[in-house]
């Protein structure tokens, strides 16, 4: 017991652990009554699913080969040979669906509660960018197994992007890495999916969470605006 306390004290002196704990966890938040409180769990649920995606994604990347000649076979290998590989793919695939759903639900709760209002505007804007990143994850990840569905869904997506007025054909070309879908498309999507998007997302989620703690979580909205109570 005393040794523990001494160890903590030693650490705290060097890292400010106690202060960090106080700012992040022992901070006070407005009380929300009844079932409303549960809506506030959606944000941390987003974070949780994101962490699941990162872990399962890293494990998948250990056996995946991003080239049109080997991608399909490597995914098949994960599916059929790797220990718990099928389960792993299932987790990552359903995690992707959950990610979209949970992030949208979180956004809806913020929308309906008007929690994007002063002083939390930037928190919301970061959120919208994160939403776009989540969509980009979904789109780039879809191609990676290189099966029929992957290939043609991406082709359709690229065609849709290609319809953008004025810049369309350029956008489609940049997406595909050329006129045709092939090696360049796959390596490009892979780099986006496992390097660019995760780094950007982690960064933005970091800012998002910083802002949430900085402003404090909003109180549940009330029908009538109460005045400040004099004590």
């Amino acid at each position: 017991m005393r040794n523990n306390r001494r160890l903590l004290g030693w650490l705290d002196e060097r890292t400010g652990l106690k202060k960090i704990w106080e700012t992040l966890f022992a901070r006070k938040i407005p009380e929300s009554k009844g079932s409303v409180a549960w809506f506030y769990t959606l944000g941390s649920a987003c974070l949780f699913v994101f962490v699941v995606q990162v872990i399962t994604g890293v494990l998948l990347a250990m056996n995946y080969v991003p080239s049109p000649d080997h991608a399909y076979d490597s995914v098949r290998f994960i599916d059929k040979q790797v220990f718990l590989g099928h389960f792993l793919r299932g987790l990552h695939k359903w995690g992707a669906t959950f990610m979209v759903v949970v992030v949208l639900l979180h956004m809806l709760r913020v929308y309906f509660m008007g929690a994007y209002k002063y002083p939390r505007e930037v928190t919301w804007m970061m959120g919208v960018v994160i939403l776009l990143l989540v969509m980009a994850f979904s789109f780039t990840g879809y191609l990676l197994p290189w099966d029929q569905k992957a290939y043609w869904a991406t082709a359709v997506g690229a065609n849709i992007a290609g319809q953008t007025p004025v810049v369309g054909s350029h956008v489609a070309k940049i997406l595909k890495g050329g006129e045709e879908m092939g090696v360049a498309t796959l390596t490009r999507f892979y780099a986006l999916h496992v390097l660019v998007l995760p780094i950007l997302t982690a960064l933005l989620v970091g800012i998002h969470l910083f802002l949430v703690v900085w402003h404090g979580i909003s109180e549940p909205p009330e029908k009538t605006n109460r005045q400040i109570e004099s004590n």
Binding site: F25, I29, E31, V49, G114, I228
Partner: protein, 320 residues
């Protein structure tokens, strides 16, 4: 700073003062929800899993992917905006939605936060959710979502055999493959099944001197190869095809007794033209005939509709 901003901050500070500690008050609920999510996620991963379809085949342009379910509504919306307007539905609308979301805190700057005090925004969101649900439901229940998705198992098997036997060493389909033999999607539409069967059994018998090898195929293998070859010529089409033809083409073309005579009679077009020729002609007649007086339909009809009509026409062999 607006008048209410300062007041809000003061009141918030007060609420916070009287509030609860984030840990364990909120963290407790967070952990429960995340744990439940993990359970559902594991169950889905274990019992449903993630499927892996057939290897991607860039030559198979008839494959129609179904979108992820949360994008199904977009497919339905695309149907409401035919032809050139598709760009509006596919790109302009989503961009507007994102811009709206992004600038929402700048648009709605009042003090009111309760949903019942912001009826317009609450209404917009509820309508959007209902519309999304309705379109998703429509997407899954309407049989015409992907008319061309249905694939004959014979055709699929034939396609696999075609790949195994490396026919693409000599032949091309959809512009992919070798040039020793003819481009199959352009020519096989002209052949009868009987001719194709005989030709596979012994190419020399029908095309003396051909370099196409005799492959000693089994009867079953010939059946599926023929089915695959015929699918290149045309393929299953929907009831909508005839309707589309009536709406767009009968002013100039005749099928049977119905239609005009500005353009050629198409009652037996399938016996002289392949599906890919017809498709390309509908898309842009000037490609095959630079003095054409027929309008181009690319952009006018969707790609799926053109494919559908082309298959319908390719099936007309004049025996009706």
């Amino acid at each position: 700073m607006s008048a209410w901003h300062e007041e809000y901050l003061k009141r918030y500070a007060q609420l916070k003062e009287r509030g609860r500690s984030f840990f364990p008050y909120a963290v407790f609920k967070d952990v429960i929800v995340s744990f439940l999510l993990l359970c559902v996620l594991s169950a889905l991963a274990y019992f449903v899993g993630a499927e892996l379809g057939d290897l991607a085949d860039p030559t198979d342009t008839t494959y129609n992917p179904r979108p992820e379910w949360y994008f199904m509504f977009l497919f339905q919306v695309l149907k409401l905006f035919p032809g050139r307007l598709e760009a509006v539905a596919a790109v302009v609308l989503p961009v507007l939605v994102v811009l709206f979301l992004f600038s929402l805190p700048l648009i709605d700057r009042g003090r009111e936060r309760h949903p019942s005090r912001r009826p317009l925004l609450t209404g917009i969101a509820l309508m959007t959710i209902i519309a999304w649900g309705f379109l998703t439901w429509k997407g899954y229940t309407s049989p015409l979502t992907n008319p061309i998705v249905e694939k004959d198992p014979l055709v699929l098997a034939g396609h696999r055999l075609y790949q195994e036997l490396k026919c693409s060493y000599c032949h091309s389909i959809g512009g992919q493959g070798g040039l020793v033999g003819p481009e199959l999607d352009k020519v096989v539409g002209d052949q009868t099944e009987e001719w194709l069967g005989k030709h596979f059994r012994d190419p020399q018998a029908l095309s003396p001197g051909t370099v196409m090898p005799k492959l000693n195929l089994l009867g079953d293998e010939i059946t599926i190869l023929v089915a695959y070859m015929k699918s290149l010529g045309s393929g299953p089409f929907t009831e909508e095809a005839a309707k589309l033809f009536n709406e767009n083409c009968t002013t100039c073309h005749r099928i049977g007794k119905e239609g005009g005579d500005v353009g050629p009679n198409l009652s037996a077009i399938g016996s002289v033209r392949s599906k890919s020729y017809i498709k390309s002609y509908i898309e842009d007649p000037s490609r095959a005939n630079n003095s054409s007086s027929m309008p181009a339909y690319k952009g006018q009809l969707t790609d799926i509709q053109i494919e559908d009509v082309a298959r319908y026409l390719a099936s007309l062999k004049g025996n009706k």
